[in-house]
């Protein structure tokens, strides 16, 4: 009996058949991958910088409690209010309370994966708030009702034609025959739509790429400048981010920002890098009246004490996705998880449980390219393998587990193993009937559906070697 196709398998089959998606994914190697390669080539100390980045994160994680408390003290001294959220639900409630207290009706947001992780939009909209995403890609997927398919390029699965269609549908008050043939026209239209939202928002919510303990600052980077408008124009600014973002000092932050931009897009530095340290001070010409920082745990403390701890080094650059042949074949939505690609395969089972997302760690060839490009040297293959160990322990005995057990039993008994492999090689050789390959084999359909199965030469090496040794023996 064939096991039912998993949700991942079903989604990935659809993704492979989606020509538009495949065209969009085809641009990844020439864009992000080539960009990173150029940035790396231009910085001789890049590999050394990766090790420094890894050490900074490891140190911060080893003393996370101390640095978070230091951050809280210094942020409070600068006038921010720091809130602690143990769960996704707590985080949403804290944000809702702040919005209610501010009498908010319109909320602008600057892209953050943590918002997606905790399902913030749905909660805000359920409370009758108008929520507007201000990152262009994030705005596009918001009007499509989708989730991001990439850490830094949420609409990477779409082409300009898709976006033009969405804009025509959504912005129905504009002239239907307007020119939307260039990306510049699309950007201009989004800018015109978003500008009054920026100006009219009561609350602006941003994430943070880093928190600096010593300065009590949050650092937010964008290439569109939308975070700056989101945090400066409304009366209330909320920074909502996760606890592992904290580093000790600004010097540590610069190292990680240099790695982040190069690894993500191949830029030397992101276009806008903003430090947020409290609300508007006396004499400031702009800035919010209130600044809140919501620190979300949502399973991270538990990860910190586990074998998966190294995943918390992640600075969300997306390089592992861009270099992953599986991600580049099926795109981010096939993963069915907020975090996709190799980092998603490691992080998602930790956040939503191995039963819900454990399969993602199976969907890798372990080619290791993700580890090679990770700016903080997360051992992604090792961590995926550890999730496979969890799944193997939990799995009900099925066909593949039974086959693996039989194989392992034989492999631990060399005489029996050699007898079995002799028989197997002879059988497959006979099935090929003198041809070099078998084009269809019922029990190996997963292989022969797409490719021929090269036939064994007939006898095992061990059998031939033993004969040769006997002949040569005196």
């Amino acid at each position: 009996m064939k096991p039912a196709a998993s949700a991942f398998t079903t989604r990935s089959a659809a993704a492979l058949a989606d020509e538009r998606l495949q065209r969009a994914l085809a641009d990844v190697p020439g864009g992000f991958v080539a960009g990173r390669a150029r940035a790396k080539a231009a910085l001789p100390e890049f590999e050394a910088l990766r090790r420094t980045g890894r050490d900074i994160k490891d140190h911060a994680l080893a003393h996370l409690d101390l640095y978070l408390e230091e951050f809280e003290r210094n942020a409070a001294a600068a006038g921010s209010r720091v809130h602690w959220a143990a769960t996704a639900d707590d985080a949403c409630n804290i944000v809702l309370d702040i919005c209610r207290a501010a009498g908010a009706r319109l909320v602008t947001k600057s892209k953050s994966m943590v918002f997606e992780e905790i399902g913030l939009n749905a909660r805000l909209q359920a409370a009758a708030l108008e929520v507007v995403e201000t990152d262009l890609g994030e705005y596009v997927i918001q009007i499509r009702g989708e989730t991001p398919s990439h850490l830094i390029a949420p609409a990477i699965h779409l082409g300009p034609d898709d976006i033009a269609e969405d804009f025509r549908r959504r912005h129905s008050h504009l002239a239907p025959d307007r020119d939307m043939s260039s990306p510049a026209a699309l950007v201009a239209e989004a800018r015109a739509i978003l500008r009054p939202k920026f100006l009219g928002a009561d609350v602006g919510i941003t994430g943070a790429n880093l928190l600096v303990a010593k300065a009590g600052s949050a650092i937010v980077v964008t290439n569109e400048g939308n975070a700056d408008l989101t945090m400066t124009l409304p009366r209330v600014h909320i920074v909502l981010t996760s606890i592992e973002k904290v580093v000790p000092t600004l010097d540590d932050a610069w190292v990680l920002l240099r790695l982040l931009a190069r690894s993500a897009t191949g830029q030397e530095f992101t276009a806008y890098t903003t430090l947020v340290t409290g609300p508007r001070r006396t004499g400031d010409i702009d800035g919010p009246e209130e600044c809140h920082v919501v620190l979300v745990d949502n399973g991270r403390s538990e990860l910190l004490g586990s074998r998966m701890r190294e995943v918390l080094r992640c600075i969300r650059c997306g390089a592992c996705m861009n270099h992953c042949p599986v991600y580049c074949s099926v795109g981010g939505h096939a993963y069915g998880s907020i975090y996709a690609g190799p980092i998603g395969a490691v992080l998602s089972p930790a956040l939503v449980g191995p039963h819900a997302a454990g399969e993602l760690a199976q969907a890798s060839t372990f080619c290791g390219r993700c580890e090679q490009v990770c700016p903080v040297e997360i051992p992604l293959v090792t961590l995926m393998r550890q999730w496979r160990e969890v799944s193997f322990g939990d799995a009900r005995p099925g066909r593949s587990k039974t086959l693996l057990r039989v194989w392992a039993f034989l492999a631990q008994r060399s005489r029996l193993y050699h007898a079995a492999t002799r028989a197997g090689a002879a059988l497959l050789h006979a099935l090929a009937r003198g041809r070099g390959a078998i084009s269809r084999l019922p029990f190996a359909d997963a292989w022969t559906r797409y490719r021929d199965l090269p036939a064994p030469q007939g006898q095992t090496f061990q059998a031939q070697w033993a004969r040769r040794q006997r002949r040569q023996a005196p």
């Binding site: 042949p325 599986v326 060839t365 392992a408 390959a437 490719r451 021929d452």
Partner: protein, 259 residues
């Protein structure tokens, strides 16, 4: 006798794929090792390195196979495997698998120090400067991911191909991208694996080689199987076969043309 005793004693880790599917690769490895001045032994108690268990999350079975393999290869100067992924398993992952047990750990580390992938052993350790084989035509080389990234094997096979009289190395695009084999991945996720190998065979075709070589039989089974399905004229062989001049057997997935 003196010169004989100075020859290093090399134990061949055959690998299960070579043992079952393509013994000619094993004999080619023996020939190359002998050409490099080694005495070659094939411990009978070896089976598989344990990657299928290790990468499926069955750590216990992988650990048992690690201990069995380490015991089977006691007493040799070197352990050499015609596969980057099996060599990486022996060299990098065995010590990690048995960490925690001080005695086994010490044995695994001393074992790991003696383990080498075939081609890098010939070049880096034995400084092999000539090879028995010849090949007249265009050759391209596929880097297996484990060998490339875990053991840093890239230059060595190309160096030896450079010694093949008549051969011209033509690089294909994306040589460092996975072919989609991935052990059990290719049968667990056949659709994605197919997308990956199709991209690989397109890159192979664009380079217009006569022969595709690799040090990894798993990748070769995948790529050769796909090329055969596509009706490609490109032949595929393990790099050891060509370097050793062991070309009597038909290429991978090629019918027997001798009859």
């Amino acid at each position: 006798m003196t010169s004989q005793s100075q020859r290093p004693r090399v134990a061949l880790f055959v690998t299960c794929l070579v043992d079952i599917l393509r013994p000619s690769v094993g004999f080619a490895a023996v020939r190359l090792l002998e050409a490099a001045g080694c005495d070659v032994f094939v411990p009978r108690a070896q089976t598989c390195c344990g990657q299928p268990a290790f990468n499926s999350g069955d750590r216990e079975a992988a650990r048992a196979l690690a201990l069995q393999t380490i015991a089977a290869f006691e007493g040799y100067d070197y352990v050499v495997a015609p596969s980057g992924s099996c060599a990486a398993m022996l060299k990098i992952h065995y010590p990690r698998l048995v960490a925690g047990d001080a005695e086994a750990s010490a044995r695994a580390r001393s074992f790991a120090e003696r383990v080498h992938e075939l081609v890098s052993f010939l070049v880096d350790v034995r400084k092999l400067g000539t090879v028995p084989g010849t090949f007249a035509g265009r050759v391209t080389y596929h880097d297996g991911c484990s060998g490339l990234r875990e053991l840093g094997i890239k230059r060595q096979p190309r160096e030896l191909i450079g010694h093949l009289a008549g051969a011209r190395l033509v690089e294909m695009a994306e040589t460092e991208t996975c072919c989609g084999f991935g052990g059990l991945f290719c049968v667990k996720y056949p659709d994605i694996s197919n997308a990956m190998v199709s991209r690989k065979t397109a890159n192979v075709a664009a380079a217009e080689p006569d022969l595709l070589l690799s040090g990894e039989l798993g990748c070769l089974m995948n790529i050769a199987g796909k090329l055969a399905r596509e009706g490609s004229a490109v032949r595929c062989r393990h790099v050891a076969e060509v370097l050793a001049g062991e070309m009597a057997e038909p290429a991978i997935a090629e019918g027997d043309t001798r009859t």
